[in-house]
Amino acid sequence: MANASMGPTSSAAWANDFDEWRTQARRLLHLGAPPASVTWHDGNASHDDLFSSREPPSMPPGSPPAPIRIGRDQLTLLRNVARYRVEGHDPPRWPLLYRVLWRWAQGDAAAMHPADVDGRVLHQRWHAVKREAHHMHAFLRFHRRDDGRGERYLAWFEPAHDVLDLGAEHFADRMGGSRWIIATPRGGVRWDGSALDYRTPCPKDWTDQARTAAEHANADEEHALWRTYFVSTFNPARLNHRVMTQHMPQRFWRHLSEGDLIPVMEAKARHGGQRLAQESSVGQRKGKALPGGRSALSRSSSGDDG
């Protein structure tokens, strides 16, 4: 990280999460440190940047910084962009956010607009994060595994971005008094009916239980009902693989209790079942045409076997 071209005014800053970044960024901004002069470090990796001091320099005494004004929408945008997990050659998050904030503070309001060279990246990331939170709301599956205290639900989920807390808030609203645990490859969260308990990394015990529950979905008998529903509500005459995978990427199928049915249903529809909308097993049952006409409406019994 040592960079000979950096002058003595260069600084380094460390942040693990958005709030830490925000504190650092605020100080750097007040010091007037331009983005190019700051080296950002993400996470807890060890640092030995010889040209920077570990802590950003403190404020010059006697000059209270002018407050930087930033709208609530902008703050939400920046906070959510920080949830995006950067891969490969994508620009890392902290320098990007700081550059945008810097430009904003200079009066360049276009910096956060989706047509801007930086703003565009922000909005793409925000979109990806929102989408992943939505995926979690949609495709996470709970499996009932009661414990000593009674009814309890377990889920294993592999989010592509840092959206665990967004999901947890959603499920706390949704599940009311039911207790649950969500385990992910990074963190985990438990709801006891009244409070959320976050753990990073996810306790091994939670991970093991949640993964086992997901791998043995049929141990929860109600999943058989759901699978039956999934097959029956499908219209083979409208088979459309492309639209399905566009909305429900294949990476999620593995953990859906109905995921393994999809290829079978598609194959069946292609080999003949596609002529009718009716599910073939329903067609094989004994049918029953009913008597009566409009006048039957005034009679009290027909067509109703209870």
């Binding site: 709970f142 529903y229 045409a289």
Partner: protein, 419 residues
């Protein structure tokens, strides 16, 4: 009959209803409360079946016994299909069980007509009432409104349901007479009219409450809600010869007269033991797709049905309705993005509503350049002949529409595949 067998029959019988939306409900939460379920206005698709359709709700019929003989319907009384009937408790059990496992966000319950319309409606209400009152279920509920039922029952249904729908099924009086002789357009309209009145009144009350009372005011004084997610309907496409213009005009009337939230279009799928006169062909999915696009232009972009189709006939299957309109109105183009009214920008093919808003925001900050359209991911090949920016004027602005159309359709034959 086992519950699982009933489920397979009654889900199969319900899939012809295209709607599965769970959006538009007011904010509800079960955090720290007895009961189950939440809603926040946004719909959630919990899965997609291989037909590409969203699974958001448990969509079943209470029973597929039916006294009616609507020709297009798999459940008509003369159809030789397996029959079943759920008890209200069974539907409740399935709803709660699926909901806890996060496979659905609520229930969409419909039914064949048994005994009488009132009796059928009462049964549907019974399920919703059990869910809401006995189990304190706060997830989404969509109930089918039986048009012939007593208004008193429609009133009760709206107090439990987020959404109500009475299906119009066929776009004209004539097709209804031929294919569903026991249904009456007048009755369907008056049910829709009644529901509209109640929804409007509840909304007005809610607005008044919001002005008068502080947020934390005694909840008992809050106006009673009535189907807060509005009402919708469905039209079957391709069961008879009705053209798209008639269908869209009919939809436009429904939006205006009854303030429907949505009209759903359902491409007619071949059913077992098809009655004479109904098509055996594969469902016209592309036609259905074009109707949804046109419907969206009517609801969101300020188009009239008559603008999209100025003579009897069907929508162009080859190009989308907005592009089709633009090609027929070359005099209105190209549009200068730095000057035009937002409503006119929205009429440019290849620019969606979100981009319109972003362009309007952007031009307050600086002049719009062509590169901005790239950054906003607008459909460049489509919009190129129709826009002017600070640094761009289309070279093909003068080209005639037939040739332009050719150049716009040629490079993307793959897009013509099924939606």
């Amino acid at each position: 009959m086992e519950l699982i067998d009933k489920l397979s029959i009654l889900a199969d019988a319900a899939k012809y209803d295209a709607s599965c939306a769970s959006s538009g409900a007011p904010k509800r939460s079960s955090r720290g409360k007895a009961g189950l379920g939440s809603s926040n206005g946004m719909g959630i698709c919990h899965s997609f079946t291989p037909d590409g359709r969203c699974v958001s709700l448990l969509k079943v019929l209470l029973t597929n016994f039916c006294l009616f003989d609507c020709q297009y319907c798999v459940n008509r009384r003369s159809s030789n299909v397996p029959r079943a009937r759920f008890t209200p408790e069974e539907v409740v059990r399935l709803t709660l069980s699926f909901y806890r496992r996060n496979t659905i966000s609520g229930l969409f319950l419909s039914s064949g007509i048994i005994r009488s319309s009132d009796y059928t409606m009462e049964q549907l209400i019974q399920v919703a009432k059990l869910l809401r009152e006995t189990y304190q279920f706060r997830g989404y509920i969509h109930l089918k409104a039986i048009p012939e039922a007593d208004p008193r029952l429609l009133e009760e249904a709206g107090r439990y349901a987020d959404r109500l729908s009475a299906n119009i099924e066929l776009p004209t009086l004539t097709s209804l007479k031929t294919l569903a002789p026991e249904k009456e357009l007048g009755t369907i309209h008056s049910a829709m009219g009644y529901m509209r009145q109640r929804i409007d009144a509840a909304n007005d009350n809610a607005e008044r409450d919001a002005k008068r009372l502080p947020r934390s005011a005694n909840p008992k004084r809050m106006a009673p809600t009535y189907a807060p997610g509005g009402q919708s309907t469905q039209m079957i496409v391709g069961a008879d010869a009705t053209d798209d213009r008639t269908i869209l005009q009919s939809a436009q009337h429904l939006y205006r007269d009854f303030r429907l939230k949505r009209v759903y279009y359902s491409a007619f799928s071949p059913i077992p033991e098809r009655p004479a006169g109904l098509p055996q062909a594969a469902p016209p999915l592309l036609r259905e797709h074009r109707l949804y696009q046109a419907d969206f232009l009517i609801r969101g972009y300020g188009f009239q049905a008559e603008e999209l189709l100025n003579a009897p006939g069907n929508l162009d299957l080859e190009i989308d309705p907005k592009l089709s309109w633009a090609l027929a109105h070359r005099d209105d183009f190209p549009v200068d993005l730095n000057r035009a009214e937002p409503a006119m920008i929205a009429r440019i093919p290849g620019i969606g509503l979100r981009s319109v808003q972003r362009l309007v925001d952007l031009r307050r900050l600086r002049r719009i350049r062509y590169q901005d359209l790239v950054a906003l991911r607008c459909r460049l090949e489509t919009l190129r002949p129709f826009v002017v920016t600070q640094d761009y004027r289309p070279a093909d602005a003068q080209r005639d529409s037939t040739r332009l159309r050719q150049s716009l359709t040629q490079p993307q034959p793959a897009q013509m595949a099924l939606w």
